[in-house]
Point group: C2
Chain length 485, copies 2
């Protein structure tokens, strides 16, 4: 573990705040290419998916450059922090997720006309209020033909999604600025989900769920959850951002997990693109792709700067925003259960953390793995116990059980006064610490790689379950094929 030399020497050819010549050239050509594709798409009939891909490339370039340029500005404005996992960490710009969010929002706003391009041209042949034209068309064709109608409802859901994402960006920045207390933090994504739910209420208000086959004799094929469905959606919107925010603490892990989840959702969306159109679910999954691709773009840009050794930090804004992107596409794309399968590591981390969250076990301010400056490796961080302050007997029994199941590491000693076994320390209850308990001390980037691959493996298995095994309990997979049993 050689102590790194000055930061200038370590950042190879480029100075820390300006782009190198290679970077400038690559980004410029990438932007030029995406602009060309966009203009070409406008001359054709919109081709929204191609346009979305091009915009995502442009978003990547812009985000990459802006993160580099804005570093000193962020540090000056007080968004800075030290890396706890380095020997002598310099001050790094914090809250760079805000840049990603801003670039992403520009991209999705500029994208608005593309999915509706065909409709705009078809409905008005150039100008004039859409509805007037449709009204006339309807009177002209009384034969019950399926008339072309502008998909206002899709536009409204897209706009509702943008509003929710902007709200979470505003609240996330507020959190990074004011350091909101943990208790209040919990509600931030809940507030941001309000616009989404309101638009859902006004525009769809479908609150029925499909009942699994074994339960259909009891509850019928569809069951109307009513207002509970909104509570369910709010919970999804609250869980995604918070759970991602909790699986954090080492360089790159926030971004890499989000990138894996985004790619898996996008992969799942693509499965639906190859079914014969118009499949009822195709549109929802297209919608999901339009929102995900730019996010993948800006996340890649951030990962380049945030991967070990990190030159910027992401801030709570990134985690909140990313979770909200998933929640929005899951809710409006009607695949929140599939989303749950992709977030299993986060769910596990959340459930595993509950004893510390609810105060059964003391919860230190930071639970991230501890950096051992001597070995240069990360080790599980621990909660120390003193002879005076021991866990409740029930908790103690649970801790010992977990220790025996290798779900945490507890160090015990014999109390010299009473002769009973007492706890000296237990590892903090996070997935990262648990992984270190299992695998032994690891280098920071190695740990990030392994947990990212874990996320990928669990997610792929989840998708397999979703499409292959779901037919055992549901009548049909909405992806084309019908179950035979």
């Amino acid at each position: 573990m050689a102590p790194s030399t000055s930061s200038h020497a370590s950042s190879s050819s480029s100075s820390p705040t300006s782009l190198s010549r290679t970077e400038t050239l690559s980004l410029a050509s990438l932007s030029a290419a995406s602009l060309a594709i966009l203009l070409n798409a406008l001359r054709g009939d919109g081709e929204p998916l191609i346009a979305s891909l091009a915009l995502s490339l442009a978003a990547f370039s812009l985000c990459y450059a802006m993160i580099r340029w804005l570093g000193p500005t962020f540090i000056k404005a007080g968004f800075r922090g030290r890396d706890l996992g380095k020997v002598n960490g310099a001050e790094l710009p914090e809250c760079m997720g805000a840049v990603c969010a801003a670039v992403y929002l520009i991209a999705v706003i500029v994208f608005i006309p593309f999915p509706f391009y065909k409709d705009i041209v078809a409905a008005t042949s150039g100008g004039g209020n859409r509805d007037v034209v449709v009204e006339m068309e309807r009177y002209a064709n009384q034969g019950g033909r399926f008339l072309h109608r502008f998909p206002h409802n899709k536009l409204a859901s897209y706009l509702g999604a943008i509003i929710s994402l902007q709200t979470i960006a505003l609240l996330g920045i507020g959190d990074d600025l004011f350091d909101i207390r943990w208790r209040h933090k919990w509600w931030i994504p809940g507030i941001a989900s309000i616009p989404l739910l309101v638009v859902y209420f006004v525009d769809f208000d479908v609150t029925s769920i499909v009942i699994p086959l074994p339960l259909q004799p009891l509850l019928g094929e569809l069951f109307d959850l009513g207002p509970l469905y909104y509570a369910y959606m709010a919970c999804v919107a609250m869980f995604c951002p918070q759970s991602i925010n909790m699986l954090a603490g080492i360089n790159g892990i926030e971004v890499s997990q989000c990138l894996v989840v985004s790619l898996l959702i996008a992969f799942n969306d693509c499965l639906y693109l190859f079914t014969p159109y118009p499949h009822p679910a195709t549109d929802s999954h297209l919608f999901s792709l339009y929102l995900l691709l730019p996010w993948i773009g800006v996340s890649c840009a951030l990962l380049c700067h945030n991967w070990y050794p990190a030159r910027v930090f992401v801030g709570d804004t990134y985690c909140y925003f990313s979770g909200m992107v998933f929640a929005v596409v899951g809710i409006l794309g009607h695949f929140s259960k599939t989303l749950g399968l992709l977030l299993v590591p986060q769910l596990f981390n959340f459930l595993y953390s509950t004893p510390q969250i609810f105060g059964l076990i003391p919860c230190p301010r930071h639970r991230l793995p501890k950096f051992n400056a001597r070995t240069g490796l990360l080790e599980p961080s621990v909660t120390p116990w003193t002879p005076d302050r021991q866990p409740h007997p029930l908790v103690a029994r649970a801790l010992l059980l977990l220790h025996r199941m290798r779900l945490l590491r507890a160090t015990t000693a014999v109390d010299p006064d009473k002769g009973t076994t007492i706890f000296v320390e237990t590892t903090n209850l996070t997935l990262l610490n648990l992984w270190l308990v299992w695998r032994g001390p690891l280098k920071e980037n190695r740990l990030a790689w392994e947990v990212t691959l874990l996320q990928l493996a669990v997610g792929l298995f989840g998708l397999f379950v979703r499409h292959k095994l779901a037919l055992l309990v549901f009548k049909e997979d909405n992806w084309g094929s019908t179950g035979q049993h």
Copy 2:
């Protein structure tokens, strides 16, 4: 002008960061009343205007309390400034416009279902996808009857408006945080207008304007501006926020001018409510009211804290956001010309400032009126000239002309070396300084009052022109009556 005693003594009964008992009681009862009205509106058929009023009252209460509570948090986060117009100004929280914006956004988002409540009930009698039901209804009625259809397009414009407002809030906070350079600032409202314009493009795309009667023989009754119309709207969106941001600098003036403009627009909207429904313009003006009333609510709350002697500052966020509210209602309500008549003082201030903006006359960092600590009055601030640095001869002639027209005050002297007349100082070119040139030194609150009343008088005259004199050049006032000539 007695120097004020300690701040605790001066803020009467309440401590500076908590509400007094009277305040708590009033705000609580106000909130309770508005909640009761809201719930009652939900049991009836929505009554959106009543609901909007109730929400605005609730927004006032929430904003009033939050501005008080969040003061220390803002100061701690670095949002603070000293009052340049006081003897020994304490540090006050800055950027409180962000609180207004946040509360306002919550109010307009929660309000979304109300204007569509009747449609929700009519279209679906409770649940199910709106469009499915409408589709069925259409097939059932082939006779060309006017069918009930969910007003998706109105929803989309409302959502587009919210997105633009959130964008300006994000950018305004960015400006207050990072102190963006003047040159870049100019583009902030332009970027924020993109969502509005995109939604307008996708959803309406009406780009024709009515031609005044004298020009109709040349250009026809309607003239299609095409893409120029979008440039025009972008200019409106850029002008409103910037011009309000420029007429600033003394306690309360930013908020009071915005309040006057909001009230005048709301008054103009109300004129349309009493025309026999359904008048084509009624819906646009209702839309405008829905967006304005909550803004009036939060602005009143801010004014209570920002009026002389100010206990908080508003920040650029407030001016940008307020200007954007006006631009949004003006553009989507199709009355941007009327809006222009209400912003004449801002337009004058902007044009009057141009020589300093474009560098013909040196522009100091602050051009706000100068506080004379001896008299306790505000005096016009000046640009000093040295014998070495005199204005260009043409500028000098213009300055002397303006001086003779009493449109600025120039102090001249005779150069002892050359015997020519040279400038010693000229007043800065802002409306506030000009008013002080005309009226002599004034107390800060007096100046704010007078300029606010000026805004009111000019605005009322503008509305008179709009509704009475416009018939001379346009065939009809869209407010009911048709011109006879």
